[in-house]
């Protein structure tokens, strides 16, 4: 749903939310002496654009402060729930959101807070025993509805949901947030193949192409480029966009679907908005400060952001 911010354009709201994501994740990383910081830097505008501009979602139907972990799903546990309610109710005409790159969970929680779907104190439960606000999110975590931590599985699961929704005559779209590393995995390509074959154009995928993975630079770990032409060869509709530009991020979603699954490749900088992080290259996957001095430097930067 197109949300025009009361005091300006939606682009301003995206920038505010994106800055809030970076600030909250940096604050958390400093407090915990570790965190998935670069993911927040690269994805802040993408998540903000999704929530502010792209996705048609109803208001959250989940508790503002995430409830404790209800136990794993089983026939003996009727209390199990998913975190989908933070993205509003399931309804035929409303969109769904699937976070595939669940190592971005902290960035997503921060986004949910910035758009008013989760209480700020919810983040205090992050990575705490007995909490649903898990470090690597799973289906019970706020904003999540499938368990994708193994990576490369969520696109297929979203495809199954999209197929089911089409069989039921539902019109809502199904947005998936992926990381570029997941395109090293065979299942991802099996999924793209099936989405194309069944013309599931209600599936829209945002890919954070930050070129980084656990071992370092992707071009040195296992190259996936040229991603655009590879995806096009599989039958996808692909847009390569500047990943920190709200207009560029949102524009492809305005086009009427044409039968092909939509892929928006957001080329991003894993240190965007936090130039200090550049010193940590090439290993950006998980940032743990090497010294108290370094932590203080980041803390000073945070103080200047507020």
């Amino acid at each position: 749903m197109t949300m025009t911010h009361e005091n300006g354009h939606w682009q301003d709201e995206v920038r505010r939310v994106a800055q809030g994501i970076r600030r909250r994740v940096l604050e958390h990383t400093i407090a915990q002496n570790g965190g998935y910081l670069s993911q927040a830097c690269s994805s802040a505008e993408m998540l903000a654009t999704l929530y502010v501009k792209v996705m048609r979602l109803g208001p959250s139907i989940a508790p503002k402060v995430p409830p404790p972990f209800p136990g794993v799903p089983s026939q003996h546990n009727s209390a199990a729930f998913t975190g989908a309610g933070y993205n509003g109710p399931h309804a035929p005409d409303l969109d769904r959101f699937f976070l595939s790159a669940v190592h971005y969970a902290l960035a997503l929680y921060a986004a949910l807070i910035e758009v008013g779907r989760m209480a700020p104190e919810g983040l205090a439960q992050f990575n705490q025993d007995g909490s649903t606000v898990e470090m690597i999110g799973a289906e019970h975590s706020p904003g999540l509805e499938v368990t994708g931590g193994s990576l490369g599985q969520t696109l297929s699961q979203a495809g199954g949901s999209a197929l089911a929704r089409r069989l039921r005559g539902e019109t809502g779209r199904n947005w998936v947030f992926m990381s570029d590393g997941e395109f090293q995995s065979g299942q991802t390509w099996e999924a793209v193949q099936a989405l194309s074959f069944y013309r599931l154009d209600t599936v829209g995928v945002y890919v954070d192409v930050n070129g980084q993975q656990c071992d370092g630079k992707m071009t040195e770990v296992m190259n996936i480029e040229p991603l655009t032409s590879r995806l096009e060869a599989f039958g996808a509709r692909v847009f390569q966009v500047a990943g920190h530009d709200p207009d560029a991020l949102a524009a492809p979603t305005e086009l009427p679907p044409d039968g092909r699954p939509l892929f928006i490749l957001a080329y991003t900088n894993a240190c965007a908005g936090l130039p200090l992080l550049e010193s940590r290259r090439p290993k950006l996957h998980y940032v743990r400060f090497k010294s108290e001095d370094e932590r203080q430097t980041f803390a000073s930067y945070l103080a200047a952001m507020n």
Partner: protein, 335 residues
């Protein structure tokens, strides 16, 4: 004994007629897994997923989350070996009602090690939330779908295809969690599963003539494995317990029976017939059953071992047995 052909193919079409939420997924083995008739009858509910099992499993998870019952059909090896991670995370963890029909168990295919599912029960049994069922005859193939439909979580079915004997009376359907009592006796408790039950019935006929008294139970539910009839039979066995399965000895029926006996403190001898921690190779079913000691003669030899006596039973004695469709002895017992 009656031999039936393409039992699942016909049954699935009939059974799914009034169940619009049942969707069939195929991985390029539509004829080979007997879902071709379903495809013809309900083309809108049939989805060809190609030779891409990982995606198929996670897709099934998505379909199940939205309220459908995805019925996955392929060879068993391609289910649990090729896509285990996807089964675990996309289907089993969320306890979704997907049905996984795995064909070609063990020696039933000459396709060689790549096609022979020899450790599927062990693997699927270890997965939380998974129900594991194995059919042993045409009656069980016919009645399986009704039996598992109430299960809210995922079900793995070790399936049979093609020409299948009717060992059990057609009026006695497969019941989840209930073993079938095929003969009553007190010398030996015998638990068999899948295609081994037919071999076991052949042997028990001859053994009975030699005055060996055998309590024979056919087991179709591998998990949950909580039928009290198992422990009751084992406790009554004078000489010991034998298990017989078309599966590796590690983690299948023999293991499950051992667990039940040990936990109950039942100090009896247990002889497990099955694949002795080995892969097998491409050859005919009778050849493989003889080669790997899974047949009626193998059972006779193990009975002799437990009894400590030779019964002078030959292969031709066993081959001469003409099996009839059996009524469950449990029913008579209940009367």
């Amino acid at each position: 004994m009656e031999i039936l052909s393409r039992v699942h193919a016909r049954k699935l079409v009939e059974w799914a007629k009034d169940k619009p939420d049942v969707i069939v997924l195929s991985a390029d083995l539509t004829g080979s897994t007997e879902i071709d008739l379903f495809r013809e009858a309900y083309p809108d509910r049939f989805f060809s997923m190609g030779m891409a099992e990982q995606n198929m499993m996670s897709f099934a998870g998505g379909l199940a989350r939205e309220g459908f019952y995805p019925f996955i059909h392929t060879f068993a090896v391609f289910i649990y070996r090729r896509a285990y991670d996807q089964i675990a995370d996309s289907i089993a963890y969320p306890n979704l009602p997907a049905r996984l029909f795995g064909f070609l168990p063990g020696v039933t295919t000459p396709g060689g090690a790549t096609h022979q599912a020899i450790e599927d029960i062990a693997v699927m049994r270890a997965l939380p939330n998974m129900t594991v069922v194995e059919v042993g005859d045409a009656t069980e193939v016919e009645t399986l779908l009704d039996a598992i439909q109430p299960v809210k979580g995922p079900v793995y079915v070790r399936m049979l295809r093609g020409e299948i004997p009717r060992l059990f009376n057609a009026s006695e359907p497969l019941r989840l969690g209930h073993a079938r009592t095929l003969s009553i006796g007190s010398d030996i408790a015998l638990f068999s599963s899948g295609i081994c039950t037919e071999e076991a019935m052949r042997a028990t006929r001859v053994l009975r003539e030699r005055d060996v008294s055998i309590q024979h139970l056919h087991v179709s539910t591998h998990k949950p494995f909580d039928d009290p009839a198992i422990l009751d039979a084992a406790a009554r066995a004078g000489y010991g317990v034998i298990t017989m399965e078309n599966h590796t000895l590690l983690g299948g029926l023999g293991t499950a029976v051992a667990e039940v006996m040990a936990e109950a403190g039942l100090g009896k001898r247990l002889v497990r017939i099955g694949l002795k921690d080995t892969f097998i190779h491409g050859a005919s079913r009778p050849y493989l059953m003889r080669e790997y000691d899974l047949d009626a003669l193998a059972l006779v030899r193990q009975v002799e071992r437990l009894l400590g006596a030779s019964l002078h039973i030959t292969e031709s004695d066993l081959a001469a047995v003409r099996l009839e469709t059996a009524h469950s002895e449990a029913k008579a017992e209940a009367l």
